[in-house]
Symmetry: C2
Subunit: 458 residues, 2 copies
């Protein structure tokens, strides 16, 4: 008998095979890249309805269990990890219904387990799409919980900008509705934004209404290599400062391009490269391409190669999205630790320079990739699992990057959230007073600290 | 001796002539349009620094005074009204410094008393502007506190979308910083959005960092009359549903046009009219104009008259912004009560129809104007001050509009906030559970209910 038998017994009838207790199956919920060590949850339940989520929270609370929400398992800072004994993991993968598509309002209402790819597939014939693209095929619930963003945020915003309304199960089992289906509202406290990015510590998201956008009349993607990474970054900063609309503006440094070539046979010139995309009418795209080209040519830009056919564009973006696996393929048996900072756009160059020089000093293989149009970039540390010295060096590079970002008015995470990994950085970023306000809210809404305990706060 | 002498004595040395206690001067803070009756505050202080705001809050709390923030006095739902005995009003008009313009980051950092017009004047030569335009020359602090929006929100977003970071004085006098200067962040609870729209009930905003936008290469404004208001609304819905970028999309009904003609001698055809504006390159604007024209001509659009010269455009938008005074000029000695709802875009037609038919039934003069591209519109009830029957009828029209908005998934206020006037509507909109979460947060952060008591919640 394990110590979770009591809770499992209470849930067994209602959840049947949707209650997972076997050690092997529980291990699935403890997999992770990166530096964090998790334990498997004691048990996992896969609810189908809001009422079942309410039942899980209430029953777990009665049995003094912690409750951790779980989507696609793609978070990067241990955000959905089980870390304490007596943890019930609520796996939302079966709550994956698209409840309504109101195409005349540009709104979709979904359950939290719907993935962004599934949502976009179902929108295909509506003329609409959901733009937020963190790379991984994350669930909408997880993306809201971590305030995710990604490649298209430079034009369409992050999850913070694209969630209109939520239903949330609170720590005491109450169901709360936030927001409305209107495009804007000034009615009362903005609970939608409070839950967005709260990483399951204030409530469990059980339904979301999302802003959709019109599929653009045309798309042009492009790759563009630069003599130096500084030139590529300068091009990004000038494009953003000139407010030229651009749908994607991604940087891959030389190491990342090498990895992508290795994996995807792209045949790209192995130099720092921008991956771009423009959405609009053919004329407006042509105008913007001309403006951006003029900026980049002054900064040592090489050949800007456009991709207009859908297949060609998909190939390019698939390569970008598979950069993690490409990078890992360069060191067989390696693990990846992906970190994430975001700085004011004028500080992008200094932040990338600092990261590059620290990586070089440390002698690590660590490609830099980023949603640079937002001032946001990642370092992919590719590390042999057992090599403690390399992991320690990566820690130091990460700390130096965070310190620099904070010193120039930036943030310790643009899109991955705090989870376990950035709890101390959060405190450094916002200060004691601000964190005490966050903790006051947490304590007021979850006085027994049942929801995802140990995350966000040290 | 009045009951405020104790607090006034304690503040007199530090604030000198910036402490207002004369009855005549206090009356200035009790002026309002609309249906709400206020009392003057007991005293008003005009701080110059964050430290002075902290001193005011702490000293007022010790003396058991309520603290109400005040900007330009342009709010419409009694948001900044003093309603209780023992109220200290904190007038931010002297904290009006623009602290920094980081043009290379598209960010301005301002004190709360800076008005939106003053900010834009100081940005004139930077190539940047701050877009949020509620009509009145409100202060930035007030606009944040009420989550304001306005004519350009359809393209540039509301205050919710354009505030990056805040400094806030809490009920216990602590100074809290929220957000960063990065364009996005996933670090911790989103306190910036929590304070935005909290109407001074959770803290006093003492500094804000705002997103700026590039001044477009060119502008075209236009007026466009329609055979029927239904045709104008249909044009709006189709334009938004087609995701055609448009910077302003305002509706003025026939009564509003009549008033504008009366006041501003615009010589417009007295029919329901859209005021439009496009921002972009000349080519992209031409493309969009063509698309929108095609939509509107199918809906009974008359002559679309463009205004390209700056002076001509300014004349047009000045007329729009002066619509309130124009409307009041139609009934000498009248007062105006402006209400505000926002609905999903597909419901705009039904919501405007309902408002129009209720106004006609009631026999009121009440022009309809709105930021219809957002699904948001206002009714300007123009009422003789003493005519209780007309005020009662306006109340009923307002209630019917709110009930309809809520029944179609909309909100009781798109941009004016809750203040005093919409407290019951807030409860109907969000329900007991959601309001209890808001109240829990309020109580946790302001346990003595010092900050703007009696607002937002019944």
């Amino acid at each position: 008998m394990t110590n979770h038998s009591h809770l499992a017994d209470r849930l067994a009838d209602r959840f049947g095979s949707r209650l997972i207790t076997s050690t092997a199956a529980l291990e699935h919920y403890a997999q992770s890249e990166g530096p964090h060590e998790y334990r498997p949850p004691d048990l996992v339940a896969q609810p189908l309805t809001v009422e079942e989520v309410q039942c899980l929270v209430v029953t777990a609370a009665e049995a003094s269990y912690a409750v951790v929400g779980f989507g696609a398992g793609t978070s990067l800072e241990g955000n959905a990890a089980s870390i304490r004994p007596r943890t019930l993991c609520v796996d939302f993968s079966r709550m994956d219904n698209i409840k309504a598509i109101r195409s005349s309002d540009l709104i979709a209402t979904v359950e939290p387990g719907v993935t962004r790819e599934a949502l976009n597939l179902s929108l295909k014939d509506t003329g609409l799409f959901f733009p937020v693209d963190p790379g991984a095929n994350a669930t909408i619930g997880g993306m809201i919980a971590t305030r995710a963003s990604g490649t298209t945020t430079v034009q369409y915003g992050s999850m913070s900008d694209n969630v209109l309304a939520l239903k949330v199960v609170m720590a005491d089992g109450r169901l709360v509705s936030t927001g409305t289906l209107a495009r804007k509202s000034a009615s009362g406290y903005d609970l939608t934004h409070l839950f967005t990015g709260s990483e399951g510590t204030l409530g469990l998201i059980v339904e979301a209404s999302l802003r959709l956008h019109g599929q653009p009349e045309s798309f042009v993607s492009a790759t563009w290599d630069f003599e130096t990474i500084e030139g590529a970054v300068e091009t990004v900063m000038s494009t953003i400062q000139a407010s030229i609309p651009i749908a994607r503006m991604e940087l891959l440094d030389e190491a990342a391009i090498r990895a992508c070539n290795h994996q995807s046979k792209l045949g790209l010139v192995e130099r720092a490269t921008l991956f771009l995309e423009f959405h609009g009418t053919p004329n407006s795209i042509a105008e913007r391409l001309e403006l951006v080209t003029a900026i980049g040519m002054d900064c040592g830009g090489g050949q800007l190669k456009t991709a207009r056919a859908t297949e060609e564009r998909n190939l390019l973006w698939r390569a970008r999205h598979h950069a993690l696996w490409a990078a890992r393929s360069m060191i067989p048996g390696s693990r990846a630790w992906i970190t994430d900072i975001c700085v004011p756009i004028s500080e992008l160059g200094s932040a990338i320079n600092l990261a590059k020089s620290k990586i070089t000093e440390a002698g690590l293989f660590a490609p830099i990739l980023g949603h640079v149009g937002d001032g946001n970039f990642h370092v992919f540390f590719i590390l042999p699992p057992g090599d403690k010295e390399s992991w320690a060096k990566a820690h130091l590079v990460n700390e130096a990057m965070i310190s620099h970002a904070l010193s120039v008015g930036g943030t310790c995470t643009g899109e991955h959230g705090i989870g376990l990994g950035k709890r101390k950085a959060l405190l450094r970023e916002h200060g004691e007073e601000s964190i005490s306000v966050m903790k006051t809210i947490k304590t007021a809404l979850d006085p027994r600290n049942i929801l995802n305990p140990g995350k966000i706060f040290v």
